[in-house]
Symmetry: D2
């Protein structure tokens, strides 16, 4: 059976000019996020899952230096031979590296030294940005840095939340919640085309495009809100074992989980410190385990990644509440399928049929994580606008909560 026609059809991809502009914007955005942070803020690491802000700024630079400059610029000299050991994340093919949990001990190089490195690498990149031979790798590098922008934001939020003083990264400004849609979007089922097609950039894990058979279903037009989550809690949701998966119940009991991450009384922790929760805003910072239990409690279920994608195909992935610049990300609720929070699906993060990881070290980007994680769709308020698309597959472990994660219910028809 050949790949369906659509998969071979080419869409207009980014031109080198677009790419160069996007490169510069993305690089600048990373740096603008360091501005509200002190040297110490940028250095600390609050848990193994999270990395220091400075580390993100350096690691993304390591990525450009390693996979673009070192590999594709003749006689390129590394800025500092000792830094790859510090700033490689998980690329086994690129050699040993500092233990993940020890990234917060690296008080040197300083932020200023890392910024100097960033600028030197930016300058060196000029030689490659125009070259169509590197389009794909540059698009990957931009997408990579955009992902780290989101991580930088969620990681520093986590670090600040651990400080009893509850520091704010930005001043608070009141945000009226835009209203979400209501009701359900129905889908008749049948064969749906899934996965990325065309020449635009996409990660290897979004393909190959293939067909999937769906049963009739409906997807909620709104994300679950803080108010609905408060009802779940009042109704004893965290105490009723029947709502929870076995692993979830063990996790909840061991970790004393009784509410989403960052909740206390009627407040939650944000990039502007502790703030009153808006009951109409989408709930965020929940685990897969909690999303699944809520859906069970609601008599509904989570959608599969295929159902979500079938509905999203064709809708505008750049809409909704996403990250435009260095401003406090905060879920508010818009009618868009994208934005506010990443949405859990009930799909395990597994390879699509005929999936092959990319060759070389960048092949470690996605494929090797296809075990034990769950697919999330959409985009969050901390996702760089333009970064996501209907075929995008984000993935996290079922107990992780420090991302802007939420849920949209589905039901059978």
């Amino acid at each position: 059976m050949a790949l369906p026609e659509a998969a071979q059809q080419s869409t207009t991809a980014a031109t080198p000019d677009d790419l160069a502009a996007q490169f510069r914007e993305t690089r600048a955005l990373t740096e603008s996020l360091l501005e509200p942070l002190s040297e110490a803020d940028a250095t600390i690491q609050s848990m193994e899952d999270a990395s220091p802000a400075k580390w993100h700024a350096a690691h993304t630079t390591w990525f450009w230096e390693t996979f673009l400059l070192r590999d594709h610029v003749a006689d390129y000299q590394l800025y500092d031979e000792r830094w790859p050991f510090l700033f490689n994340s998980y690329y086994e093919a690129e050699g040993d590296r500092i233990l993940r949990g020890k990234r917060g001990l690296i008080s040197r190089p300083t932020v200023a030294q890392v910024l100097d490195w960033r600028h030197a690498v930016n300058d060196a990149m000029d030689a490659l940005l125009d070259d169509p031979a590197h389009t794909e790798l540059i698009a990957l590098g931009i997408a990579h840095e955009q992902q780290h922008i989101e991580l930088l934001l969620t990681d520093i939020k986590h670090a600040f939340s651990k400080n009893p003083l509850g520091p704010a990264m930005w001043e608070h400004a009141e945000n009226r919640s835009p209203s979400q849609g209501t009701g359900w979007t129905e889908h008749p089922g049948g064969i749906a085309m899934i996965g990325h097609q065309g020449n635009d950039f996409a990660f290897d894990n979004e393909g190959p495009a293939h067909r999937v058979l769906l049963e009739p279903f409906a997807l909620s037009k709104s994300l679950v809100t803080n108010g609905e989550w408060a009802d779940f809690i009042s109704d004893g949701g965290y105490e009723d074992h029947r709502l929870w998966l076995s692993d979830a119940w063990a996790w909840l009991s061991r970790c004393n989980i009784t509410a989403p991450l960052y909740w206390r009384e009627d407040e939650h922790f944000t990039h502007t410190g502790w703030q009153k929760r808006d009951p109409d805003a989408p709930v965020a910072h929940i685990s897969y385990y909690e999303a699944d239990a809520f859906a069970t409690w609601a008599g509904k279920r989570l959608p599969t990644e295929f159902e979500w994608e079938a509905i999203a195909r064709g809708s505008d992935a750049s809409g909704g509440n996403q990250l435009d610049n260095a401003a406090p990300p905060s879920p508010r609720g818009t009618p868009s399928l994208f934005g506010d929070v990443w949405q859990f699906t009930r799909s395990g993060y597994l390879p699509y049929p005929r999936f092959q990881p990319a060759e070389g070290a960048v092949g470690e980007y996605n494929g090797k994580f296809m075990a034990g994680q769950w697919v999330l769709k959409g985009a969050s308020c901390a996702t760089v606008r333009g970064h996501s698309r209907a075929t995008y597959r984000n993935f996290f472990y079922p107990q992780q909560r420090w991302q802007f994660t939420g849920l949209r219910l589905a039901k059978d028809l």
Copy 2:
């Protein structure tokens, strides 16, 4: 869209007479497995995943007493009010229970006391075995006890393997390996019917029956053998990070994994003690992580559970090397799709569309485990013959190895 016709079609189910016979055979088989064991053998627990043999004999009895006798016999008095605390496994709805890792401390009640309990429960069950109202629950109880027969066998094997004396449960008898098939079974792809249909007993997780779209593929006619696995090792399979999932590489590094469980030099541990390995016999006691790495090394992949089922549908699930009586289970390799070892698929253990767990405590049987585990298909040399079927979904965590687990490769066409 209604469920497909086939799903509503009734097949001839077991009669009460068949069930009563099966009940007695199964109960007798459990007890025959205690015979080669001393009181101490039957009491020890070698790890949290495994349970004492005596505990299996008692827990299966608790299951009958709780869900059949207590719930369906008027005025039934529990044999001992204190024992449910000891022998409930994981049914939250049935109350508190002893910590899983502490089952090996229960030197009392003795084996003899547990056997008396078994016989009393068997006698009391006579009143229910003929009653068609309980057919379904009795079939579940039999399937449940059959599962524990397999666990009893793999758990005691694990416990004995921890004893430096390498005790044998049975005397060794030479087994000529029957030959496996060769080559590949091809499948053209298209829409396949998946899941259990008809009135025969099946677990709730095998349904609802539904349609799945398959790409063209082929499934190997043979299981991977000890000899092939030795080649994988010689070729540096356990040292090449590129073959391994990220979680797998972390596991392998942390636990110093360099071969299947129970291997040492050219021997492996069996129910008859340490024995020379047969290179032509199917490899066993591997994790999902290892199965996946081996498939990658071989340039192939694991099948999905749907592919496996599409090929298996219609073949004889009672064939091959399975457990007939209290004799040492040992993989040998037969042409059957079933038997020898449970076969890893690349499918996460997740609910089928429209899946609903059964009502009440027995609803905890399967559904709550749908997170973090992988589906295995077929049957092993320790599976009671008749227990499995094409739609059967066994499931384990990706690092677990103490079951008779192996693999059969697949490839795209």
Copy 3:
């Protein structure tokens, strides 16, 4: 300064005949303690600190076979070459051994096989018992087996306490509490002679005898009782950080300690199952941390080992409530300084001046444990009568509680 004269003076030591009789009595006592236990009871291990009863029976036999028979009988053949790996406790010089926490997995050899070994070793020992050349080593072996008799009793008590059924090793028989002394024994201070002198058997850690300067003090004539401990609890003793050492408070908080081990409501766990506590009986199963906190609460302190010994010197070490035969040990309270419970001192277990461990593997017996432990004096209801003496230095870690441990207060004058 030469060693004081007394230390060089010889006292009449045991004759070979006495020793042979003591050997046989001790060996017989060990076996009589296995009688009330099932094969499973004798095999289980409830924590790393405790060992299975069968293991004690085997380890003591290994000691005789290794240090007497193997080393001193020409051409002696080990009963089983594989067993030293199983039954060596901690003698590094004697090679590798099974992990301490895995002793409970050794269902084979059986109790019967271990008893056969015991009898074979007893028979072989006949050749050595008369030989004065081995007197010292035989006395050590007897003392060693007596120590394991006490451990066997406290270990099986701990194992049974973990069984929700609360099994009893023996039937309960009411014990009237003998009355303890009242008031204080005063000591004027000055130079006291400390440590073992003479030719009678003593452990290497009891010497060399040396002089110590004492301040005036008094030692209570009674052990602290269950009733007094209940007052400590009622008074909030376990909740007042000011009473506790820093390590103690961390331990108590981490482990949720609110009472002595084995207490529940007005009962405690004994070798005869759960029994009502006698308020006049000495409290048992407390840690050093608890003993120290109680003493602080009482406005008193623990004695040093030197103070205790100075008072005890000359008193009858065979008196009080000690173990005479296979009967349930239980603290009752007698006027003797010895018996009922081992008494915590505030002395760290450290070497006496000029201490040298014995040569060879038996040198590992005591010396290498001189770090992090505390000295206890006296004897307990589970100590074989005749085993202890005024110079005896028992030692345990400050959090350990499964021995019959209690306290006798001291105060400054």
Copy 4:
């Protein structure tokens, strides 16, 4: 028996003027140590035993604010009500506090804010410095801050050692090693006076003064050197279980200890980065376990704290290689008994006869740590000159190595 006369005799204590000067010097010294550190350097925490440099600067300020200003200045307002939670170390009586291992997450308040606090507290202290009513508490506060100066130095050294770049706090300057003494100082034994007497400041744990009976012994005139330690290593010292205490051997095996902390090949890590080791300089950064094993290997032993003090009494405690100002501390070896490295004794850190902790929260300073630690005597190259004295009792756990710890051998005569 009354306390000896000498203990009641008054020596001239510090005048308020001396104290005020010492207060200002000490406060200034702390701040001068922050100067070479970046905001990030001052914030990171490399292990639970160590604290951030900023934390030391803040905690010492908390101590003055809490025990002097809050308790003794009418209507004193705390600088920030929220900071005691951050900067209380272990005073239970002063309420809850941030978990010890989380001190490195406190990027706010900033170093500048902490310095502002320091200056405000310094100013407020002016009102109390002249008042003789507070002499004792002020002396305690100074001693306390001096201890934290030493900890600040050893903690930042540890943190920098974890950075693969091996940052230097100061520039390296060659240090010729002064020569140590040779041979042994003999002591005839007999009754020695131990513990602090007079009105000078001393910690509560240095008293009461009391008499101790010593056997004849000798104390080495030199500290063990790097060169001697290298011989110990070459001779297989870390591989011979016979040299090690049982807990030590378990620690060494679990942690893969094969050399002092900070050693690699012929270099060691210092405040000036990785430097070649001087074989004639005193060995540093060893644990009690290692010190004890070395002494056993050398056929000698560690002194008791009483022996060491008996020799040191009357010698100049301000001599040797100690900390005078903000310069890199580094052991070099001088003829003084004090300086270079703290010297392990074989004495457990336990209360002296009739010891009573001080009243109130400062009573938690020393007494509650009297369990599981060992006494060290002397002073190190990082100890503020004038801080120590012959009666000083430093104490650490037997596995801790990040202080400048070494050893001086003793032997029996």
